[in-house]
C-alpha cells in the first residue's frame, strides 16, 4: 500500500509531540543577550545530561542569574563598543578571552597568562570594539584546559552594520542573506573531571587521561537538544538546537568548536554551503566579492576554537517524484520543483507489519502527509514535516555515557509551506 493516507491526527500523539518539542520559543533568531554592555558572573551549578545524570559545572551566568552552559550568547552590533563586566563566585580565578576580537582592554582584577583575571570574589572588566561581523567564541583564559571543560565557554555573534531583522544577513554582503539562523556550539565532557571539581580534588585531575563520554550541542545532549529553549526543568541549559524552516528557506547554521576535539558535523537532507570561517567570509576580494570561495559540504569538520557559517537549504528538487503526492492536476505548492509535479511515488512501500517506524515519521512519505501508524509508533511530528538529523559523524559521539541514542545530535524540521508547528507558533508569539 503506497497510497497517501488520510488518517486522523492522533490527538494523544499530538499532545505528546507538543509537550516534547515545543514548550519554549523556537528561534528564527538565535537566543541570547542582545546589547553592548554585559555583566557575567562565573558561578557553579549542575547541568542535566541526556541520560539524566547531573554534572557539576562552572559557567557564566547572565548578571545574577543561574550558572548556564554554555554562557549567554552575546549578540552585538558591528562597530559597537562592547563591555563585559565579570564577577567571580568560583573558588579560583577566572577570565574571558575573545578570539577574533581585538584589541581587548581589561581593567581590574589581576594579571593572568592570557587575560586579566577576576580573583575569587573579585571582578574585572573587558572592553573591545566589535569590528567584524560574524560568529565567534568566548571562553575562560584561565586554566582553560580545565575551565572550558568545566563549562566556561559561550558564543558571540556580531551583526553586520545595517542589520535588518526583516532581511537578515550574516555579513554585509547579500551573499550571506538568510531567513532563519541557528547555533551549533559543539562541546564534550569527561565527567570524571567534574567529579573531582565537585569534591575539591582538583589536584587529582589528569587532563592527559581525558575521555569524554558526553557530547553537546548548545549545552544539551540529544534528545534534550530538541526540547524548547528555556524549559523549566533544564534551568542551567537554556538553549536548544531545533532548526525549523520551510522548503527553500536559507537556514544559517553557525557552527562553533567549543571543546577540545574535532567533530565532523553531518547534515542529512542536503549539503550546506560553507560561506564563512572564523568570522571571515570565504571570498576572493575581502569586503567586495562576497562568498565566491564558498563550498558545499555534507559534513563540516568543526575544529576546536574555530567557527563556520553554513547555509542549509532544502527544496526537494529533482527527486523524480512529487514530494507532496500531488495528482498532475493539483495546484502547485510555493517553490515546488515543477518538473516533478504530479509524478507518482516510484515504489510500493512494505506492509506496516514489516516495518519499524521512527518517532518523527508522520506515517506518510509525503511532505505534509498524515498516515496511519500502528499504535505507539510515530507521534513526534504533528505537522507532518520532513525531519533531518544533523549530528557528529564520529558516531560514537551520538551517545550519552554509554547509552545510544543521544549526544551531539538533533533534528532539523522542514515543514510544508504554510504549515506552522506548535513550536513555530510559540516563537511567533514571542516565547513561553
Amino acid at each position: 500500500m503506497n497510497a497517501r493516507y488520510a488518517g486522523p491526527v492522533r490527538s494523544a500523539a499530538l499532545a505528546a509531540a507538543i509537550l516534547s518539542l515545543g514548550c519554549g520559543p523556537a528561534a528564527a533568531m538565535i537566543d541570547g543577550v542582545i546589547g553592548s554592555s554585559f555583566t557575567f558572573t562565573a558561578k557553579e551549578g549542575s547541568i542535566s545530561a541526556g541520560d539524566g545524570q547531573s554534572i557539576y559545572c562552572w559557567g557564566y551566568a547572565n548578571g545574577n542569574g543561574l550558572m548556564q552552559y554554555p554562557g549567554p550568547t552575546m549578540i552585538v552590533s558591528q562597530g559597537s563598543a562592547v563591555t563585559v563586566a565579570l564577577a567571580n563566585e568560583l573558588p579560583e580565578p577566572v577570565s574571558i578571552v575573545f578570539p577574533g576580537q581585538g584589541p581587548v582592554t581589561a581593567r581590574g582584577g589581576r594579571p593572568g597568562l592570557l587575560a586579566r583575571e577576576a580573583p575569587p570574589g573579585g571582578r574585572c572588566e573587558y572592553t573591545f570594539t566589535a569590528h567584524r561581523p560574524g560568529t565567534y567564541i568566548y571562553h575562560s583564559g584561565t586554566r582553560p584546559e580545565l575551565q572550558v571543560e568545566m563549562g566556561l565557554v559561550g558564543a558571540l555573534i556580531v551583526r553586520p552594520a545595517g542589520f535588518d531583522t526583516a532581511k537578515p544577513r550574516a555579513y554585509e554582503h547579500p551573499g550571506s542573506a538568510y531567513e532563519d539562523e541557528f547555533l551549533y556550539l559543539l562541546t564534550e565532557m569527561d565527567p570524571v573531571i567534574h567529579e573531582h571539581a565537585l569534591k575539591g580534588t582538583l589536584d587529582r585531575i589528569d587532563t592527559t587521561a581525558y575521555w569524554p563520554v558526553y557530547w553537546f550541542i548548545n549545552g544539551r545532549n540529544a534528545p534534550d537538544t530538541m526540547l524548547g529553549a528555556g524549559v523549566p526543568w533544564l534551568p542551567h541549559q537554556p538553549y536548544n538546537c531545533m532548526p525549523m524552516g520551510h522548503p527553500g528557506d536559507r537556514m544559517l547554521f553557525r557552527f562553533i568548536g567549543g571543546g577540545r576535539d574535532l567533530h565532523p558535523l553531518h547534515t542529512h537532507g542536503n549539503h550546506t554551503l560553507l560561506i564563512a570561517r572564523d568570522g571571515r567570509m570565504l571570498e576572493s576580494v575581502p569586503g567586495v566579492s562576497g562568498p565566491d570561495l564558498a563550498v558545499q559540504m555534507f559534513t563540516v569538520t568543526v575544529a576546536p576554537g574555530a567557527t563556520y557559517d553554513a547555509v542549509f537549504r532544502w527544496t526537494g528538487a529533482k527527486l523524480g517524484w512529487d514530494i507532496y503526492g500531488h495528482a498532475p492536476g493539483d495546484p502547485m505548492e510555493p517553490g515546488e520543483y515543477a518538473p516533478d509535479h504530479g509524478k507518482p511515488f516510484p515504489v510500493v512501500l512494505p506492509d506496516a507489519k514489516d516495518l519499524a517506524f521512527g518517532p518523527q515519521y508522520s506515517g506518510s512519505q509525503f511532505l505534509g502527509g498524515q498516515g496511519l501508524l500502528p499504535p505507539g509508533e510515530g507521534g513526534f511530528n504533528p505537522t507532518a514535516g520532513f525531519f533531518y538529523m544533523s549530528h557528529s559523524h564520529n558516531e560514537k559521539e551520538m551517545t550519552n555515557n554509554d547509552i545510544f541514542p543521544g549526544g551531539m545530535m538533533t533534528m532539523v524540521l522542514i515543514d510544508r509551506p504554510g504549515a506552522m508547528g506548535p513550536m513555530m507558533q510559540a516563537a511567533e508569539k514571542g516565547g513561553n
Partner: protein, 406 residues
C-alpha cells in the same frame, strides 16, 4: 555491485548455530513477511543517462543485510554486521544466500548520473544473534535534497524488519563520491561494519566523441570525476578507498551477547576497505576462518601505468576518529570534496595540490595522482596518524597500502 557469489565451505559451529538461529528467527517472523524485489522497466522513452539508449536508465540492485565474520590482518576473528549482494538471486533463495554472508566493506555501489536506482534491501536477520530483531536501512550518505522516506535515517523514516524487503529509489542527478551505511542504531551497526563505498559517474563521460570541452577534446571512454566542462577532472583509473576502524571488544561483546561498550570505543584495527596492511595489497578476495566465505572482497592495492592519472575516492566511515592520509612521493591534487567539484559558486577553481588529506567520519575527497612526472615504482599511501600503522598490537600494518606504477 559485484554479482559474484561465494561458496560456503563445510559448516562450522557458528554456521550450525546460525541455522538454529534461523529456525528461531523464521518462527518469529510476522505473517506476511516476504522478500520482494521492485525493479520496473525503463519505459519513459527518454535517454536520461546520456548513453544514447532510452531504455536502459533503470538500474536495480538487491542488497541483503545480516551478519557474518571477517578476520583482521593479525588473524583475529571479528563478528560483523554487514551487507552482501544478492542482485539477481531468486527471492526464495535470498534469505539463504544472505545468511552469514555479510561482507566488509559492503559491496561497492556504482551508478551513473541520469540513472534511476531501485535499491532493494532485504533484512536476512542476524544468525548469530537470534535475540536481536534489529531492523536495517541504507543511508546514501550525502544524497542531495534527500527525502526522509529514502534517507535511511530511522527516526524520521521507516526501517525494514527481518524477512522483508524495502526498495529505495534514487533519481541520480549529482556525480561524486558518496558512501553508504546502515543508520539503524548507528553507533552499533556502523562499528559492526555496515559500511560501503558508493559513487556516481558524471554524464560528461557519455559525451559524443570529439566534443570540445573548452579546449579539451573529449574522446569516447574518457572518464571524469565531475561535469567539469574542461577536462580538469579527467582520470584513467579509479580506486575507492574507504577508511574505517574496529574496536575489537565491541565486536566480541556483541558476539557474546554482552552489554555494548559504546563509551569505550577506541578503534585499534585501522583499515582501508576492511583490511589492514599487508592485506591491503592482496589483490584477491579474502576468506574468514569461521565460515570460509570470502567476506573481504575489496583490495586496496592501487596499480597504474606510468603517465596515467589515478583517481582516489577517499572516504572515512570510522565511528570514532579523523584520519589523515598521505601519498609518499606523488603530489595529491584534490579536485572534489563531499561529492562536489571543488569550485566556488561562480565556478572559481578551488582545487589544490597537497601531500596530506584530513578526513573526518562522513567526509569524502576526490584526489587525482598524476603519475607522468614520477618514476615507475611502488609508492605508499599511509595514515600520517602514525599510531594507525598497526593491526592492534602488531606493529607495521594498519592503514597503509601501495600504489604500484609500472
Amino acid at each position: 555491485m559485484n554479482p559474484g557469489r561465494t561458496d560456503m565451505r563445510m559448516p562450522s559451529a557458528a554456521f550450525i548455530a546460525g541455522l538454529a538461529a534461523l529456525a528461531i528467527a523464521l518462527a518469529a517472523l510476522p505473517l506476511g513477511a516476504e522478500v520482494v524485489v521492485q525493479c520496473p522497466p525503463d519505459t519513459d522513452g527518454i535517454d536520461t543517462d546520456g548513453d544514447g539508449d532510452p531504455d536502459n536508465d533503470v538500474v536495480c540492485v538487491h542488497s541483503a543485510a545480516g551478519d557474518g565474520f571477517i578476520n583482521m590482518a593479525d588473524g583475529r576473528l571479528q563478528y560483523i554486521f554487514g551487507f552482501s549482494d544478492v542482485t539477481g538471486v531468486p527471492p526464495e533463495m535470498v534469505m539463504h544466500m544472505g545468511m552469514l554472508a555479510a561482507e566488509f566493506p559492503a559491496p561497492t555501489i556504482v551508478v551513473r548520473e541520469g540513472q534511476r536506482l531501485y535499491l532493494t534491501l532485504t533484512n536476512v536477520g542476524m544468525m548469530m544473534r537470534p535475540d536481536l530483531f534489529d531492523p536495517h536501512t541504507i543511508h546514501w550518505h550525502g544524497f542531495p535534497e534527500a527525502a526522509p522516506i529514502f534517507d535511511g535515517e530511522p527516526f524520521a523514516s521507516i526501517s525494514i524488519n527481518m524477512g522483508s524487503s524495502l526498495t529505495y529509489f534514487y533519481n541520480v542527478v549529482e556525480p561524486g563520491t558518496y558512501m553508504y551505511h546502515c543508520h539503524v542504531e548507528a553507533v552499533e551497526h556502523m562499528q559492526m561494519g555496515m559500511l560501503g563505498n558508493l559513487y556516481v559517474l558524471p554524464i560528461q563521460n557519455n559525451l559524443p566523441d570529439g566534443t570540445d570541452l573548452n579546449g579539451f577534446a573529449h574522446h569516447t571512454g574518457n572518464r571524469y570525476v565531475y561535469n567539469d566542462g574542461d577536462g580538469s577532472t579527467f582520470y584513467d583509473v579509479e580506486y575507492a578507498l574507504q577508511l574505517s576502524g574496529f574496536y575489537p571488544e565491541f565486536h566480541d561483546a556483541n558476539m557474546n551477547v554482552q552489554p555494548l561498550p559504546f563509551a569505550a570505543i577506541d578503534d585499534r584495527y585501522p583499515m582501508i576497505n576492511g583490511r589492514g596492511y599487508p592485506e591491503t595489497i592482496d589483490p584477491d578476495p579474502l576468506p574468514n576462518t569461521e565460515t570460509g566465505a570470502l567476506t573481504r572482497k575489496i583490495s586496496s592495492l592501487v596499480t597504474a601505468t606510468k603517465g596515467q592519472k589515478v583517481l582516489l575516492r577517499l572516504s572515512n566511515l570510522s565511528t570514532d576518529r579523523f584520519y589523515t592520509v598521505s601519498v609518499l612521493g606523488i603530489p595529491m591534487r584534490v579536485v572534489g570534496m563531499c561529492a562536489k567539484i571543488l569550485r566556488g559558486p561562480d565556478g572559481k577553481d578551488l582545487s589544490y595540490v597537497t601531500t596530506s588529506v584530513n578526513i573526518g567520519g562522513g567526509e569524502s575527497y576526490d584526489v587525482i595522482l598524476d603519475t607522468s612526472a614520477v618514476p615507475a615504482g611502488t609508492y605508499v599511501l599511509y595514515c600520517t596518524n602514525l599510531n594507525e600503522l598497526s593491526n592492534d598490537t602488531e606493529d607495521f600494518g594498519g592503514m597503509m597500502t601501495e600504489i604500484r606504477i609500472d
